[in-house]
């Protein structure tokens, strides 16, 4: 037991180093003065010049703003649709078309992005030919495409949260005469709120991150942030991209820290409430 316990622990440490070294290297080199990026210019570093270059780069800022808008709308749409399909799959038992819905919500999880991107673009072109909408590609087609592949992830998150709870609470409410809509909003929805939050964040990240599908369905006019980054880094490393990466890492780290502090605070409050309740009963 000891020997391969040790082996797996070594693998864990190695794996974590492997996961974090590239991210750390971007953070470190974002403060490097040299244009060569990976050659440290110790005379003039650390410097914030790449951050200054970034803030004055209209193209990147514009693309980032477009990406945020798309990701927020796409994540919200994906949460609505993914909740509906997750509830249907977890609570409706066997219904006609179940296999179809289940298949259509799991296939996008593994579908190669080039196939999804191509097929959606061809759909939009066919639609434009037959009903004259959407005119060309742009933020609208990107958002529709993102909602579609993000809702699959939200479905899985919601569904696995719901199958973790048994249906007795909902059944009890029904037995007491609550109507289905009320049961959903008073019982089911509060139960799955954590899944909705994590589903929204997941969908936001996936949309914010997507390059391939956006590239297919975006028209010539609109560029999301990943599209701008990709065209920059294809030509080689570029120091202001390191600065951008560092900012994103900081935002994510701050978000994760805040949420774990909040969760710990909640847990502590629950504990104290329970202690108080126990004391009151004495």
């Amino acid at each position: 037991m000891k020997s391969h316990g040790l082996f797996s622990r070594v693998a864990l440490v190695f794996g974590l180093v492997f996961l974090y070294v590239p991210i750390l290297s971007m953070v470190v080199f974002s403060f490097n003065n040299s244009r060569l990026v990976t050659v440290w210019d110790s005379a003039n570093s650390p410097t914030l010049r790449w951050y200054q270059a970034l803030i004055s780069n209209e193209q990147i800022l514009g693309a980032a703003w477009l990406s945020i808008k798309i990701a927020m709308i796409a994540a919200s749409g994906a949460v609505v649709l993914g909740t509906l399909s997750g509830v249907a799959l977890a609570r409706f038992g066997a219904f006609r078309g179940r296999a179809l819905l289940a298949g259509m919500t799991t296939a996008p999880l593994v579908m190669p992005e080039v196939i999804t991107g191509l097929s959606l673009l061809l759909l939009f072109v066919a639609l434009e030919q037959t009903i004259g909408w959407p005119k060309g590609g742009g933020a609208v087609t990107i958002t529709l495409a993102h909602i579609t592949f993000c809702m699959a992830y939200v479905t899985v998150v919601v569904q696995s949260r719901l199958v973790g709870f048994d249906e007795s609470l909902e059944e009890a409410a029904m037995d007491l005469g609550a109507r289905p809509v009320k049961v959903f909003f008073r019982i089911t929805l509060p139960l799955i709120v954590p899944a909705l939050v994590s589903g929204w964040l997941l969908a936001f990240t996936l949309s914010w991150d997507d390059l391939v599908i956006s590239q297919f369905v975006a028209g010539p006019g609109s560029s999301t942030l990943p599209m701008v980054i990709f065209s920059k880094v294809r030509l080689g490393v570029s120091p202001d991209v390191n600065a951008l990466a560092t900012i994103m890492v900081m935002v994510v780290a701050a978000g994760i820290t805040a949420s774990s502090v909040w969760m710990r605070f909640q847990a502590r409050r629950r504990e104290r409430d329970m202690q108080l309740a126990a004391a009151a009963n004495l």
């Binding site: 509906l84 259509m104 593994v110 191509l118 061809l122 490393v237 990466a245």
Partner: protein, 299 residues
């Protein structure tokens, strides 16, 4: 009345996502399938219609199989298909070899450290995938970090060529998809009953034997789920080989996108997509089968 509204509500809940996915997921594949039989032409859109209509009836069907025969006769397509399968298979294997012991160590750790470790595994996923792949350019290129360190230590005198090699693509895929391998493995390994291993030890099995005869067979569903989550998207991977990979041997995702964007040959791009889908249909159905089992087994 309540009965009617319950039925109606069910239909709405079910109908909206189903309709959405039929329009934006299913029908697009039918269109790709249709266009893969079209002829390319210089127009917008750049393909000829399959049916010729007169008086509301189709009078001629121009089914064009040349896009597919093209795929099999042109060495470029065959070799990039085979190369993509090879790259995806090798990367999946490396992912499994690294991910399995990591998932095992997490599953065997103290409950308090377990959550922290899981968070550390998932955290990189929340930062941009594109930028994390890009970071490897800086590490692997000839005047990059790894070469500088190795030369600084005097281990090598000439920079190693690591960028634009198969090796770089394997690293990129393992790096990007590692969490997708670890999480299903972890959720499988975590459920194992430790008394089984104790029983095996009591009966005189050595740790390695106990692992091979008890733990490994029980973790097969996790291995399959994790491997499929890595293998299937890796076959069609576009970003990683474009940034880190060889320029003389393209992966099929890149070929598809080049046919589409550079050559504007939509029918051939569609045929490439349909053929890729054909190769992946069995792995995708296998994945759905396992996904269904894990999502419905909780009950």
């Amino acid at each position: 009345m309540p009965r009617f509204s319950a039925q109606f509500g069910r239909r709405v809940v079910l109908g909206i996502p189903t309709a959405w996915l039929i329009v934006l997921f299913l029908i697009p594949f039918i269109i790709v399938f249709k266009i893969s039989f079209s002829e390319v032409r210089l127009a917008m859109p750049p393909y000829a219609p399959l049916f010729e209509w007169a008086d509301g009836k189709p009078v001629a069907v121009r089914l064009n199989l040349s896009n597919y025969s093209f795929l099999f006769t042109d060495a470029l397509y065959v070799s990039s298909y085979l190369y993509s399968l090879k790259v995806a298979a090798v990367s999946t294997l490396f992912c499994l070899l690294l991910g399995y012991p990591m998932a095992y160590a997490i599953a065997r750790s103290q409950p308090t450290t377990r959550n922290l470790l899981l968070m550390l595994i998932v955290l990189p996923f929340w930062t941009s995938f594109l930028l994390r792949v890009y970071a490897w350019i800086g590490l692997l290129k000839s005047n990059g970090v790894i070469n500088n360190v190795l030369m600084g230590m005097g281990l090598i005198h000439e920079p190693l060529t690591m960028l634009q090699t198969d090796f770089a693509v394997y690293i990129g895929i393992v790096y990007s998809y590692l969490p997708f391998m670890i999480l299903p493995l972890y959720s499988n390994l975590e459920k194992h009953d430790p008394t089984l291993l104790e029983a095996a030890a009591d009966l005189g099995a050595r740790p390695v034997t106990a692992f091979l005869r008890v733990t490994l067979p029980q973790s097969v569903p996790g291995i399959i789920a994790g491997s499929l989550l890595v293998f299937i998207p890796a076959v069609g991977e576009y970003v990683i080989p474009s940034l880190l990979g060889r320029t003389d041997q393209l992966m099929i995702g890149r070929v598809l996108s080049d046919e589409f964007f550079a050559n504007r040959d939509w029918p051939v791009a569609s045929a490439v997509a349909i053929f890729m889908l054909g190769l992946l249909v069995i792995p995708i159905m296998l994945f759905q089968h396992f996904e269904k089992r894990t999502l419905e087994a909780h009950k």
